[in-house]
Amino acid sequence: MPCSCIELETKYGQGECKCTRYREHFPDCECEKESVSEHSPGPVEDNEVLVRTLFRKQPIDQDGRLKPTYFRREPPSRGFSVDRVVVVGAESLEASKRTDGRYTGYLRFTAARSSDIRAAKVEDGTRLFCVYDSATLANRAHADICQNVNIPTGTENRRQLMMEFAWILRYAFGTPVQTPPTSLETP
């Protein structure tokens, strides 16, 4: 069992089961209270804007919004990667994405406020998502949104809950735009 959040992130940070491990070893977003990475400038604050980068057009629908499925796969498992715009700045963030290996000419950004993601709860009051400062050596602005509520395979209403959780996360993120947002209106 990892002794600390940093140890957990070091061991599982790049894996498919990172969020599962956080839920198992540090439930209820315990690791939000401290840095989970030695490369981080500090835990993610509630007022921070978290920016998700899109390198492909496919997840965007005819209304210009992200499809619900886009928010379903990563939060329970590897984590939904975002960047902390306050750490790196919008221009630097955009420039770094243009040199990313996934960049093929298409670039959009969608953003959410950390506090809106942290405010999401399930009916018994349990926090739905945690936001961890999972910075890397190459990207000190990196953070992850991890689902705090486990829905094991085989759970009777699993698919319904997956849709509901994705709806909540999707609502927090705005319509994709061409430059990284630095501030947000309350959704």
């Binding site: 997840p59 499809k67 209403n157 319904q160 994705a166 709806w167």
Partner: protein, 215 residues
């Protein structure tokens, strides 16, 4: 999105009205034209020959023809007499939705760069069967491709705080989630799973979707 449509997967409103030389009577009319050409008022009688056409549309009573966006389509026409076929905007919505859903099965393994599996034909077939039961007053939803072989459709009326999503995994059933409100203030929400794709749509989901139309 694939630009290939075959006669067999055109909606009945089109395929059943494969008439020669009819006059558009209502709504929007299809006409076969050669790519980059003008509308062919007398389509050739080349039954059984593969011919490539681009579908163009015109509104009844309007003489000019224009391509419908996202519907530049190659047509495998055994008997390409589509001039004068009348279809309603509703049929076009279904055609586009059907085409988009069907195109998802052609996605490659790892189509999202994150290890996604392409939707299965069974999942698409289930979605199409479900959509066959759409009540007339409910708008066509948006399609979406899942990452684990599944597909979905959804309605998103963010200004009215109405959202509904239906997922298909290809086992003959579906799951849905429908909500009126926003995450911080849900007014009403319903969900269920294991529903038969051939059955009538659940009243609870329809009630949410009709909130928008009843305003």
């Amino acid at each position: 999105m694939s630009d290939a449509v075959t006669v067999s997967n055109l909606p009945p409103a089109v395929s059943a009205l494969n008439e020669l030389g009819g006059t558009p009577r209502q709504g929007i009319a299809f006409a076969p034209v050669e790519k980059s050409g003008q509308p062919r008022m007398g389509a050739p009688c080349d039954a059984g020959v593969r011919s490539t056409y681009q579908l163009r549309l015109r509104e009844s009573g309007v003489s000019s023809w224009k391509p419908l966006r996202d519907l530049a389509t190659s047509l495998w026409a055994r008997n390409p007499y589509y001039l004068g076929v009348s279809v309603t905007p509703s049929s076009i919505g279904k055609l586009k939705l059907r085409e988009e859903l069907s195109s998802y099965t052609k996605l490659a393994q790892n189509w999202d760069g994150e290890g996604a599996s392409p939707p299965t034909q069974a999942a698409v077939d289930d979605a199409l069967a479900f959509l066959d039961n759409k009540p007339a007053d409910i708008p066509w939803p948006f399609p979406e491709e899942g990452t684990d072989g599944d597909v979905g459709v959804y309605w998103d009326y963010i200004d009215e705080s109405v959202f509904a999503e239906v997922m298909f995994e290809g086992n003959g059933t579906y799951a849905y989630f429908a909500v009126y409100g926003v995450p911080s203030a849900v007014i009403e929400k319903f969900s269920d799973s294991g529903m038969d794709v051939n059955s009538a749509w659940p009243d609870e989901m329809l009630r949410i979707l009709r909130i928008r139309t009843s305003d």
